[in-house]
């Protein structure tokens, strides 16, 4: 019975998604769409409640595939919250609301499995469920611009990366003879990795696969194109929850820092520098955010390298804090930008006049951008502070230095967005902004949360039990 309780969130999500999908086929008008939206929120909320009330460290369920340590539960609840946020803030397509919501729920199911995977096979399963839903969600509005191109690009490259990942896992299995993560960590620590060249190679390929999913340099090529092609809320979901879920699944592999630390160091440093430098060259807003998300993965990897080191808040705790802080800002920014209707891709110049037409929306975008840039009143500042201080106390001096340099470079392109929002004179006759009261109130609430937690970060740390 306790096994069923551990599996309850997944069962709710799988059957709930199916229910939404089938209900959506009957009629498609506004009433049905609203009903499906709230039904999805109830399903996701039910799964989150079931997850929050699982006893930490209860027995693994489903032959050891799903484990429930306290970190995994915290991560799972965070992802479900982001997902519910996306469902509420996004504008569901008129003709296919059932498919839209069902795919979001299935993606959430993938994140849940990924965040709580107890075996290498469950990890792969979670990644595949998540990616399969995202392929369709990216090109959901397939008549619009580059949507199909972006979806196809993600499909081909993600399948390629999955091949690396699964081959790496196969090599690891071949040398250690177990799929179970806890047992694997034990065998690695008792035998040592340096005497198992095949496992070294396997973990290297595994890092390639993970790096691709995180869009870390040098596996970042897809990010800008895919983010630009996908609908705003989906881009936000990929940048926040999907990457966070991969980070959560990567935490049991912390022993890799001993053997593959140099590679992770390089990936982290390169992401921070290259992401910020590429952002300088961009004039299209979604691509700017894409490059900024590459840089943010570099920051998060500093916390990963620090592991359980750190004064007060550990590297892992800082990562959880940062995933939340970053998700609030990036999902908010992508969704808020999707309210500005354009027939072509949104350029920086298209933001002119937004502050005059809709001051609330412009101010929310300002808060999100400030949080991404890491400027004090917003939560992003504390996220970076905890990550870098954990990095310093773990003995990585140069990474925080590079990170600070990168952030300084990044401020330039973040300010470019703000300057165009507020300080550029001239009318913009083509500007068309449309949102429902629900959407704008959620965006405002998110911006308020960013400022609140930025002023009182301690509240979030205690809420997430990070100490």
């Amino acid at each position: 019975m306790s096994q069923l309780a551990t599996l309850a969130p997944d069962i709710i999500m799988a059957f709930g998604g199916t229910l939404v999908l089938l209900l959506g086929t009957r009629r498609s008008d506004k009433a049905v769409n609203d009903f499906l939206r709230w039904l999805s929120v109830i399903i996701i909320g039910g799964a989150a409640l079931a997850l929050a009330y699982t006893r930490p460290n209860s027995l693994p369920a489903a032959e050891g595939w799903i484990i429930s340590s306290s970190i995994n539960i915290v991560f799972g609840v965070i992802f479900l919250a982001i997902l519910a946020w996306t469902v509420l803030a996004a504008k569901a397509p008129e003709h296919a609301a059932g498919e839209w919501h069902a795919l979001l729920i299935y993606a959430g199911n993938g994140m849940l499995i990924l965040a709580r995977s107890g075996s290498l096979a469950a990890l792969f399963l979670g990644i595949e469920i998540l990616s399969l839903s995202l392929y369709v969600l990216i090109s959901f509005f397939c008549h619009r611009g580059m949507a199909l191109r972006g979806g196809t690009m993600y499909l081909v490259l993600a399948a390629f990366a999955s091949a690396f990942l699964v081959f790496g896992l196969a090599l690891v299995y071949a040398s250690f003879g177990t799929l179970d993560l806890a047992e694997l960590a034990q065998r690695v620590s008792s035998k040592g990795l340096f005497h198992a060249p095949m496992a070294m190679l396997g973990f290297g390929l595994f890092i390639v696969g993970v790096g691709f999913k995180l869009a870390a340099v040098p596996f970042h090529m897809w990010a800008a194109d895919v983010y630009e092609a996908s609908p705003g809320p989906v881009a936000g979901l990929i940048a926040s929850a999907s990457k966070g879920a991969v980070i959560a699944a990567f935490i049991p592999f912390l022993f890799l820092v001993n053997t593959h630390g140099d590679i992770l160091w390089l990936i982290s440093a390169a992401s921070m520098i290259v992401g910020n430098l590429m952002g300088l060259l961009e004039l299209r807003v979604k691509r700017i955010l894409a490059y900024s998300s590459i840089a943010h993965i570099g920051y998060i990897l500093v916390g990963y390298l620090a592991g359980y080191n750190g004064v007060g808040i550990t590297g892992v705790g800082a990562m959880i804090f940062y995933v939340v802080a970053y998700a609030l800002a990036i999902a908010g920014a992508f969704t808020a930008l999707s309210f500005i209707e354009r027939d072509h891709e949104l350029g920086v110049r298209d933001l002119r006049g937004v502050a005059r037409v809709s001051p609330a929306l412009a101010f929310c975008i300002l808060v999100f951008i400030i949080s991404l840039a890491g400027i004090p009143p917003a939560i992003g500042f504390f996220g970076k502070l905890y990550l870098f201080s954990a990095g310093v106390s773990a003995g990585y001096i140069w990474l925080p230095v590079l990170g600070l340099l990168g952030s300084a470079i990044g401020v330039y392109y973040y300010l470019r967005i703000i300057v165009n929002l507020y300080m550029t004179p001239g009318e913009n006759p083509n500007l068309k902004i449309s949102y429902t009261p629900l959407q704008i109130s959620i965006i405002i609430a998110t911006a308020a949360a960013i400022v609140f937690f930025g002023c009182f970060p301690q509240t979030m740390i205690t809420a997430l039990k990070l100490f």
Binding site: T18, L22, T25
Partner: protein, 129 residues
């Protein structure tokens, strides 16, 4: 190690010999019949890029999908005795999701040939506007 080495040399040598000898002994002579694409001795006719009806494509995709899903039941069927009622329950849950796919396709009109061809032609004409 030595037998493996000899084997490797022989493999590479044979491949090089086969290609090299054919280059040395028979010079390439082109004529229209020889340059024709060869497919099981049948002379090719027409263009390979023929127009295919969209409903056919969708039905073919659905066939492949359900075919692959049903294939996953074979390992269960072979081990039916050993897996017992627990295995039966798991296979049942799996079948619920396969059936869901079928019901979804049905409700969306994916099984009705006429519906598919009318929506397909409607979409092409609207995209040309």
């Amino acid at each position: 190690m030595l037998p493996l080495l000899i084997y490797g040399v022989m493999v590479v040598g044979l491949a090089v010999a086969a290609i090299g000898m054919s280059l040395l002994l028979g010079w390439p002579r082109h004529n229209p019949h020889k340059d024709m694409p060869y497919e099981s001795g049948i002379a090719p006719t027409g263009d390979s890029r023929i127009r295919m009806s969209v409903p056919y494509y969708i039905v073919a995709i659905m066939f492949i999908m359900f075919d692959v899903e049903i294939l996953l039941l074979y390992p269960w069927a072979v081990n039916l005795q050993e897996l017992g009622w627990k295995g039966f329950a798991i296979a049942g849950i799996f079948m619920i999701f396969v059936a869901e796919g079928l019901i979804y396709a049905w409700a969306r009109g994916g099984l009705s040939w006429r519906h598919l061809s009318t929506t397909a032609s409607a979409r092409t004409s609207s995209s040309q506007d």
